[in-house]
């Protein structure tokens, strides 16, 4: 049960990220239409795309990790015995976890600083930057959660089959 719960949140991040890609597609198509057919270019689309890319990139990281699809070099590891391979796997998830925690900490510090500093975007949206950085912290937290889940599952030799 707990593992299902731990997996649902990161998955949700992946779905959100995929939907954001669809939104990016829609926004660009709308901007092109506005420019050519209504002669009214959107002055804010470029800026908005930047924020959407930040959200897309961070929210989905965890989902990709759950499927073990982050690119790694599996050149040496297959040469070792099962136990050593397991140790390498655990090391991998541990490093991802540590990195995710630093991402989370740095994102949090950055967004609270920018909030107190009152940093705004320069473009038409006038966005408070810290708000656009929330997905960065959220995505890092999900990544940490996913890495912890994978680590524990590997440690206890839980496979998707044995879980369900």
């Amino acid at each position: 049960m707990i593992f299902i719960l731990l997996r649902v949140l990161p998955r949700l991040g992946g779905v959100l990220s995929a939907l954001l890609i669809l939104m990016v597609l829609a926004l660009i198509c709308y901007a092109v239409l506005a420019r050519y057919f209504f002669n009214a270019p959107l002055p804010w689309s470029d800026e908005m795309l930047g924020y959407l890319m930040v959200a897309t990139a961070f929210l989905g990281l965890s989902s990709v990790l759950l499927d073990d699809r982050h690119i790694a070099i599996d050149l040496l590891t297959p040469l070792f015995s099962g136990a050593v391979q397991k140790a390498f796997n655990l090391l991998g998830y541990a490093v991802v976890f540590a990195v995710a925690i630093v991402f989370l900490y740095a994102s949090w510090e950055t967004l609270t600083f920018n909030r107190n500093f009152g940093l705004y975007s320069v473009g038409e949206l006038d966005a408070p930057i810290w708000v656009t950085q929330i997905p960065m912290a959220l995505g890092s937290a999900l990544l940490a959660l996913a890495a912890a889940t994978k680590f524990i599952e590997r440690l206890l030799n839980i496979t998707p089959e044995s879980r369900s």
Binding site: R35, N39, A40, P41, P43, S45, F113, F117, G123, D126
Partner: protein, 307 residues
């Protein structure tokens, strides 16, 4: 010795980048090597948007920003994008020691940054276009032009133009293919970025002023010796002069260079400037007031004293 890491966004050949290099060398000489300045140009360490928070936080000791990169974070810095308010270069010669500059330096301190130097970039802009000059407000009706900051864009929109947001690298191609009808750039950049290859008409307007300014992390600054603080003060004033000189050189050669490349170049008359100003300035002021609040009134008065 103290190491001072300075990030900026200008490519090494830009006049401001050259002024910064001279300024850095001056600091090292005057401090007899006690202050070591490491320059990271062209966004190589911190990207333009992140320089302000990076210095404020103390990730690096020093950075440079263009005035309009402050946006609503410190709107007073945008005051020189008011159409035609800063057309006289004499204003800029008096600027670094003026009350108006001091006012902005204090605003900066309020934001948690220590001012170091003012580096003037340009007050000579060109509107670039194809087939006809953009010199009267009605010429702008219906054209797609690369936008600047929202209050300035409000002035463009008042004339019927559509400001488009676009990253700098894409502008050349957009102009060449007609995705943009017109550009606004400083005249030296019209040469260095080869806009003359894709635009055949240009009108020179002293419409906005652009400056970069250097600032330091205040906690780092306060730990410096008094001698080193004085070095930074003196070098800051010298840097401001160098930037102005380098910019004037670049601006002086530009019109002939553009004409040599076959550009139809028109220098806007006083009447043409006035006509544009009459339409754009009220729209700018209205939009700017929404942004900036009332403290800019005082700044505008101080600036009027300079003229």
């Amino acid at each position: 010795t103290e190491t001072m890491r300075c990030a900026h966004q200008f490519p090494p050949t830009h006049t401001v980048a050259q002024a910064i290099d001279k300024w850095a060398a001056e600091i090292e000489t005057q401090s007899k090597g006690e202050l070591q300045v490491q320059i990271y140009p062209a966004n190589s360490l911190v990207s333009a948007k992140e320089i302000i928070p990076a210095v404020a936080k103390g990730d690096i000791e020093c950075g440079f920003a263009i005035n309009f990169s402050w946006g609503r974070t410190l709107p007073a810095m945008l005051v020189t994008t008011a159409p035609f308010a800063f057309s006289d270069v004499e204003v800029w010669k008096k600027w670094p020691t003026s009350d108006a500059a001091h006012f902005l330096e204090q605003k900066l301190e309020g934001k948690g940054l220590k001012h170091l130097t003012w580096m003037f970039q340009t007050n000579t802009s060109v509107f670039t276009s194809n087939g006809k000059y953009l010199k009267a407000p009605e010429d702008f009706n219906g054209i797609k032009i690369r936008g600047l900051v929202p209050p300035f864009n409000a002035g463009l929109e008042k004339m019927g133009a559509s400001p488009v947001s676009m990253s700098g690298g894409e502008v050349y191609q957009a102009l060449s293919t007609g995705a943009l009808d017109a550009g606004l750039t400083d005249i030296a950049a019209a040469v260095s970025r080869k806009y003359y290859e894709v635009q055949d008409h240009m009108t020179v307007f002293p419409i906005i002023s652009v400056y970069a300014h250097g600032f330091a992390n205040p906690r780092w600054y306060s730990n410096l010796s008094d001698e080193n603080k004085q070095v930074l003060q003196a070098a800051g004033l010298m840097g401001a002069e160098w930037a102005l000189e380098l910019s004037e050189e670049a601006v002086a050669d530009a019109p002939q260079q553009l004409r040599d490349k076959g550009v139809n170049l028109h220098v806007a008359t006083a009447e043409e400037q006035q006509a544009l100003s009459d339409v754009m300035l009220p729209a700018f002021k209205e939009s700017f007031a929404k942004w900036a609040g009332d403290d800019t009134d005082e700044l505008i008065k101080l600036i009027e004293k300079l003229q």
